[in-house]
């Protein structure tokens, strides 16, 4: 099965994240307060595979493929729980 939308998300998500991270690094040399821009870029890079997986889960949900959808949702739940725990934990 071909996954056009998840494939596009992976491609353009990574490129966008990388461009923002590079831009952040370049702009930080001029204005140090722009350092968070780099982290936004890296955050987008990490979020890209997770977003792609969400799209895959949605595709299978639409097709009523409950087994694949459940497995995708389980993997997503583990990742999202980690993000929430890491953000809450000091």
């Amino acid at each position: 099965m071909k996954y056009e939308t998840p494939s596009l998300i992976l491609r353009y998500g990574t490129i966008t994240g990388l461009i923002i991270a590079i831009l952040g690094e370049v702009l930080t040399t001029i204005k140090p307060t722009l350092k968070p821009l780099t982290y936004y870029g890296l955050g987008i890079i990490i979020a890209t595979p997770i977003t792609s997986l969400t799209a895959i889960a949605a595709i299978h949900a639409i097709k009523h493929d409950l087994k694949t959808f459940t497995l995708a949702a389980l993997a997503l739940a583990i990742m999202l729980t980690t993000i929430v725990v890491m953000l809450i934990k000091p």
Binding site: S7, L10, A21, I22, I45, I46, S52, T68, T82
Partner: protein, 254 residues
Amino acid sequence: MIPVLIVIGAFGIGFISAIAGIGGGSLLVPFLVLALGYNVKVAIATSLMCIVVTSSSASSEYLRRGLVDMGTALLLEPLTALGAITGAYITLTLPANVLKIALGALFLYISAETIWKALHERKGGVEVPGSVTALRKAVGSTLSFMAGLASGVFGIGGGVIKVPIMTYIMKLPIKTAVATSSFMVGLTAASGEIVYLTKNLTDPLTATLLSVGIIPGAILGAKCLKKTKPKYVRIVFGAVLLYASLRLLTSITP
């Protein structure tokens, strides 16, 4: 000067990795620790970020071509992701010397396996697709937790463990296994990297420079694949990794 060195080094790693058919993680960490003097935990975290970039770029193409076996990927991924998160937590608590010993031992194993495979290569490979029993699925899932653990602890993609699981236990053809592993590596590395990034262990500049260098290197390596003999590249890769593992093991300070 250092940024230029990082980009050139990453370019070389991408080139070698593409020809040798391995992930870049096993070369990125020794490059950062031994050649550039990075702290081992920072090197692991930064390498993992770079792996997310390279894996996402490659699996984008595999997904578009329909090469990924999504059923197998999603069956193995929940436990693999859990393994990667657990692994990252373990690394946060381990002393640097213990990590160096573990990394040295892992690279010693990978180098021995790579050289062995290069010397005993069989044309055509093993392709034994067939039905997969529930027991095989259970064993595959359990072992993929270990692959995730290795990814989180060592900052590698874990393809070196995932591909054998998929070919020998899940009975996938080698090309499907490589594509499926590549897709999974992105998810696994992202899971581990969440922990490192929130703990501020990732060096953003180095991660960006490595990503900028490794992608064109991998593209060029893939293009040169037909002109080079992968057997010799694998032997060179194995030798470099052997050297790196010995350097890591001898760099332990009391």
